[in-house]
């Protein structure tokens, strides 16, 4: 044992450091399952707020869902919204403090079911906020029920024989909908299931953060993500399933790009 400890000490040296905790992530243990995309999405946002020097300017709004405890993980000011109401809360904050950077972080049940009206109307008014939308096609926190974004035929605890679209309706493509609204400025769909996609998502969120300074409308970034626990898969299987099933239905890429790029 003693030898092993010495061995680790030899490895943990500044010159060997290739990856470390982002400054704005707290030391609290993440409440997510192994392999979940939330941790990666959190990290990207924390990195960008730090890199853009926005910690003292940022107010985040947490949703109700798996990321309900998000305020424990990122060292910024937070407001916890009621289920689905984050865009309305963000509207109140941004209207009263227009110089601050305001963003919501919401899951598919929060944003695309109970909060549909708040999402659409805040986007339609062109609130100068960023909405980060984590879409994993399922209600994670409550234990794997069908979400508005659950794929046709996909099994969940409330669609145990698979989503029958004739009875349960079709999955809602909220990102496509908000892209049609005049109030949105930048709308894109990304994922965090491969390192390359993580890089693209970071680029997209950085753009969205910078665009908010222009006061030209809502920026909306969907991140197609996984839910190994409720999809009943290993993390690796879930990422493969995401690629083969989620992405054909929710194709990645920009849906609305600002004509006037910031300088």
């Amino acid at each position: 044992m003693a030898r092993q400890a010495t061995g680790i000490k030899e490895i943990i040296k500044p010159e060997n450091l290739v990856y470390q905790k982002t400054k704005l992530m707290t030391d609290n243990v993440l409440s997510y399952c192994p392999g979940c995309g939330h941790g990666t999405a959190h990290r990207i946002i924390a990195e960008i707020i730090d890199e853009e020097g926005l910690q003292s300017e940022t107010i985040g709004i947490c949703p109700v869902g798996c990321s309900v405890l998000l305020y424990n993980f990122m060292d910024i000011d937070w407001q916890e919204a009621a289920h689905g109401r984050a865009p309305a809360v963000a509207t109140g904050i941004k209207r009263l403090m227009p110089d601050k950077f305001v963003f919501t972080y919401q899951g598919d049940g929060d944003l695309a079911a109970i909060g549909t009206a708040e999402t659409i109307h805040s986007c339609n008014r062109g609130e100068n906020i960023l909405i980060v939308f984590i879409n994993n096609g399922i209600y994670g926190m409550t234990g794997g029920q069908m979400a508005p974004t659950t794929l046709p035929g996909m099994k969940s605890s409330t669609s145990p024989y698979g989503r029958d679209v004739a009875i349960m309706g079709n999955p809602l493509k909220m990102t496509d909908i908000v892209a049609t609204l005049q109030g949105t400025y930048y709308v894109t769909r990304q994922s965090v299931h491969t390192p390359a996609n993580v890089k693209k998502t970071k680029k997209a969120i950085r753009k969205a953060v910078q665009y908010q300074k222009l006061n030209k409308g809502t920026c909306f970034v969907e991140i197609v993500s996984n839910c190994p626990s409720n999809w009943k898969m290993t993390p690796v299987q879930s990422n493969k399933w995401l690629e083969e099933n989620m992405l054909p239905y929710y194709p990645l890429g920009d849906m609305k790009i600002p004509e006037d790029q910031p300088a």
Binding site: T58, D77, Q79, R85, A88, V89, L96
Partner: protein, 356 residues
């Protein structure tokens, strides 16, 4: 600066008083009989004068959550609605109470249940004074009986809300919202530049991050928080009771009534006395905290107490608890949007006296 005398509707007085109180933001949604508040503010364009934000939300749900967001930033924010809309806001109000945020909510009550009627009623008393949404909480509830009080209680409501970090409600009704009276308006106050230490305004390196939430997954911690709320409500009960007495000194029979019913009962006191019945009126101005102690004291000198409300009998339960069996307590009420006439109140009192 002098006060300014104007002839206004109660709803307009709320709107003008909000601007003059230095409110930072108003978020509303149209509903009869209170739409004049939003209309007045949109026409007044305070965002060009004081910088006050005025926004028509897509729903009452959105409006109250915009209030939550603004209140969480330490701003002086408010919303107004009428009964069905206030029901929709209850989710947000519970979260605001749970997050201990100050804000002002105005309910210009109409008859219910359901879509009910657009005429005045006092049938939201339970909802206003007992919490209204889920969980153990109270609002500070002010009951105006005139257009003047509609204006005055905006400032008072904000003051109490910030003093106790608790949502305050003005419980009005369609009659007071719609009627015109002269009102003395306070001079324009400047919007506050003070940022409360708990407000979310962006975390500087000099402090810990601020979190506005009503969530605590640890039952022990949640119970500690619940106890903290109870202590706060008890302090409010101790310090903030407001009421008005009208000819109570020699009274043998007491009306207890608030808002429009209290206006009616003032006349009923006069009519009763003309008939040799020594009646008096206790008008609660705060419905939470309720003037229980005062009513209990008055009960020692009364033969009978009549709670007069435009409802099926809601406040009467608090009167009964206050009196605690000392003397008989009855209820008289009209419903469905009907305002009782002073003489029918007297007739009811007489029937109760004679045991009818």
């Amino acid at each position: 600066m002098e006060k300014e005398l104007r002839l206004m509707k109660g709803n307009e007085a709320v709107a003008e008083a909000a601007i003059r109180a230095g409110a930072d933001g108003y978020f509303g949604y149209p509903i009869t009989p209170q739409s004049e508040i939003l209309e007045y503010l949109m026409e007044a364009k305070p965002y060009e004068k004081t910088g006050m934000v005025v926004l028509q939300a897509e729903s009452e749900l959105a409006a109250i959550n915009m209030v939550y967001g603004g209140a969480g930033c330490g701003k002086k924010v408010m919303t107004t609605s009428s009964s069905p809309g206030i029901s929709l806001k209850q989710e947000g109000i519970s979260y605001i109470a749970g997050a201990e945020l100050p804000c002002l909510i105005v309910n210009v009550v109409r008859g219910g249940p359901g879509l009910g009627t657009i005429q005045p009623a006092q049938s939201d008393y339970f909802q206003a004074t007992k919490g209204g949404g889920h969980g153990d909480y109270h609002l500070i509830v002010l009951a105006p009986a005139s257009v003047q009080e509609m204006a005055d209680f905006v400032d008072l409501g904000f003051e109490l809300a910030f003093k106790y970090r608790n949502p305050a409600m003005i419980l009005s009704d369609g009659a007071i919202g719609q009627m015109m009276e002269k009102v003395w308006l306070s001079p324009q106050k400047e919007r506050s530049k003070t940022v409360p230490e708990w407000a979310t305004t962006g975390k500087p390196p000099t402090r810990e991050r601020n979190i506005i939430t009503s969530l605590d997954l640890d039952p022990n911690a949640q119970e500690v928080f619940n106890q903290k709320l109870i202590d706060k409500y008890n302090e409010i009960r101790e310090k903030e009771v407001r009421f008005e007495e009208f000819q109570c000194d020699d009274a043998e029979y007491l009306f207890v009534a608030y808002g429009t019913s209290a206006r009616v009962c003032q006349k009923s006191v006069q009519l009763a006395r003309e008939q040799g019945i020594k009646a008096g009126l206790l008008r609660p101005i705060t419905l939470f905290p309720f003037p229980s102690k005062k009513i209990n004291e008055l009960a020692d000198r009364m033969k009978l107490i009549l709670s007069v409300e435009m409802s099926a009998g809601q406040m009467v339960e608090d009167v009964l608890l206050s009196v605690n069996g000392k003397v008989p307590v009855y209820h008289f009420g009209r419903m469905g949007g009907i305002v009782p006439a002073p003489d029918e109140v007297v007739e009811d009192l007489k029937s109760k006296i004679t045991g009818g």
